[in-house]
Amino acid sequence: MDGGLQLASVLGVTLRVALVATVLVAPFALATGWFLARRAFPGKSVVETFVALPLVLPPTAIGYLLLVLFARSGPLGESRLGFDPGVLFTWRGAVLASAVVAFPLAARTARAAFEGVDPRLERMARSLGISPWRTWGTVTLPLAGRGLLAALALAFGRALGEFGATVIVAGNIPGRTQTLALAIFDEIQLGDERGALTFVGVACALAFVVLWSVERLARPRTAA
């Protein structure tokens, strides 16, 4: 494949996978973050540890667990469900792997964002007769907004660089599941230093933009 076309293809797959993974992870991460920030319940520390687990597990271990889960005879495989969920060795598999790996980062950042909102403001809104959902939508969410965007940007950034889980669940299929991280690995294996450096350069640029955005979002707003 022509170098330019290959780069466009890899970039397209990478951005699509990272974007869909971020969208997929967003509601779960926000809900988990809010729950951990605002609710006390027995066994909370166990849940917190469980949420953080993908941060420290080797991504290959996560990939293997997903592979077992979605294998033909696995708990969520074709034999059990009666249809092919279409996860293994597809771009959807890459999305799922990236989402699982990105989830703890997003959930923990979202939790910090919700914790940054004074719960007494929510109580005041409730006191004034504002419904719980409206309070959440007009007080909690806007005040936590920047932190939540930072959480999603971090999830996007993590998904951009995902390798270990993706290669096991989705394989390394050019044009379908080959992301930047996989393409760099491919080029190194093939001994194409120039190709590898090109992909590394693009990965660095993307990472810079994402982290810069996170830093900007995470910075507290100064009063006018």
């Binding site: 007494r120 005041m124 006191s127 007769g129 504002i130 806007p142 005040l143 009063a223 006018a224």
Partner: protein, 354 residues
């Protein structure tokens, strides 16, 4: 007139709040030192804290009754709550903040009146973080009033402000009291605020209601007991020929008081620290102090480095003075000695006006 029935039993860490009393006052002051449970009591009334036991009712409408499992949510109590930290929504304009108060069903006319009375019309498009402390205070009050509350709960509404701003905002609270027919519960550790606004006062200490009754009586006893001002004296403002104002403590005994703006006939409480009074014998040179009051020493008590002198200036007016034992010796002060008390007008504090 509204009737508040309050019976609250609420654990608060090392102490437990246990208050049981009723009040028909139009304005009830909750007074006491930090940690006495004042804020917790107000939060229990607002529905922000759930008592362990007890009953809270306003005009027979039960808000909380542990025995019958009643606990009306905060939003249904129709309370205009202004907490110490105000809790203005920082991402909303002043107007949206105030209108949030009206969301519960407060009328447009009430909202407009709150804006007018508190003079915040020019602030409506501003964001709370850009406001001064006094402006934020008025906006929080307007929001509480706009909600058409059945009762206003003001928790140390002026505590975060400096003294001069507190004095400037006090008239706004008084204006609110007059303009809106809403009973008011004011938490404060400043007797001036309570005396200026409240008819009745409950004094809390370590979670217990230690005294309740007419605000003036409760606070007078508290001031004496706390020893913050060893001398708290009742008096009446009188006009002087030069157009100034003095306070008559007894027939023939008048006190010049700095900052006294009350017209003749107004009753006032004057507070004076024992260490701010000088005792003189013999002739006095020209002196800047505005008050030189003849007195007779009724008692002298030496306690270590302190010499406490009880001086009688009139039949029912006694003044406590703190001197040193050496001053007692050098001036030969003893019971029955005729002296003059020298007091700066600036040392006299107006505790209360009526």
């Amino acid at each position: 007139m509204s009737r508040f029935e309050i019976d609250v039993d609420l654990p608060l860490g090392r102490i437990a709040l246990a208050v049981r009393c009723t009040s028909d006052a139009r304005a009830l002051g909750i007074f006491g030192p930090s940690g006495a449970g004042k804020t917790s009591l107000v939060e229990a009334l607002a529905g922000w804290r759930r008592p362990r036991a007890g009953r809270i009712a306003l005009d027979g409408e039960v808000w909380f009754d542990a025995e019958h499992g009643i606990d009306r949510p905060a939003g249904e109590r129709r309370v205009g709550h202004v907490p110490q930290d105000l809790l203005l929504f920082p991402h909303w304009t002043v107007e949206r903040n105030v209108r949030a108060g009206a969301a519960r069903g407060g009328s447009e006319s009430t909202l407009q009146r709150a804006i007018d009375v508190l003079e915040i019309g020019s602030l409506l498009n501003q964001m709370p973080p850009t406001l001064s402390g006094g402006e934020r205070q008025r906006v929080a009050l307007a929001r509480a009033l706009a909600s058409g509350p059945r009762v206003l709960l003001l928790d140390e509404p002026l505590a975060a402000l400096d003294l001069s701003l507190r004095r400037r905002l006090l008239p706004y609270l008084a204006r609110v009291r007059e303009a809106f027919d809403v009973p008011l519960v004011l938490v404060s550790h400043d007797p001036t605020e309570i005396l200026a606004l409240c008819d009745e006062c409950w004094r809390l200490e370590e979670g217990r209601l230690v005294e309740h009754g007419a605000a003036r009586r409760v606070l007078l006893a508290a001031a004496r007991q706390a020893g913050t001002f060893e001398n708290v004296m009742r008096g009446r403002a009188v006009a002087t020929p030069d157009g100034g104002a003095r306070v008559a403590l007894a027939p023939g005994v008048e006190l010049a008081v700095a900052g006294l703006r009350e017209g003749a006939g107004a009753d006032v409480l004057i507070a004076l620290r024992a260490e701010d009074i000088l005792v003189a014998t013999g002739e006095l040179p020209a002196i800047s102090a505005r008050n030189v009051i003849p007195a007779v020493i009724a008692d002298v008590r030496i306690e270590g480095e302190d010499a406490w002198v009880e001086a009688r200036v009139a039949d029912d007016v006694h003044v406590t003075v703190l001197l040193t034992p050496s001053a007692i010796r050098e001036l030969s002060l003893a019971t029955g000695s005729a002296v003059r008390l020298v007091v700066k007008a600036q040392s006299c504090r107006v505790l209360a006006r009526s």
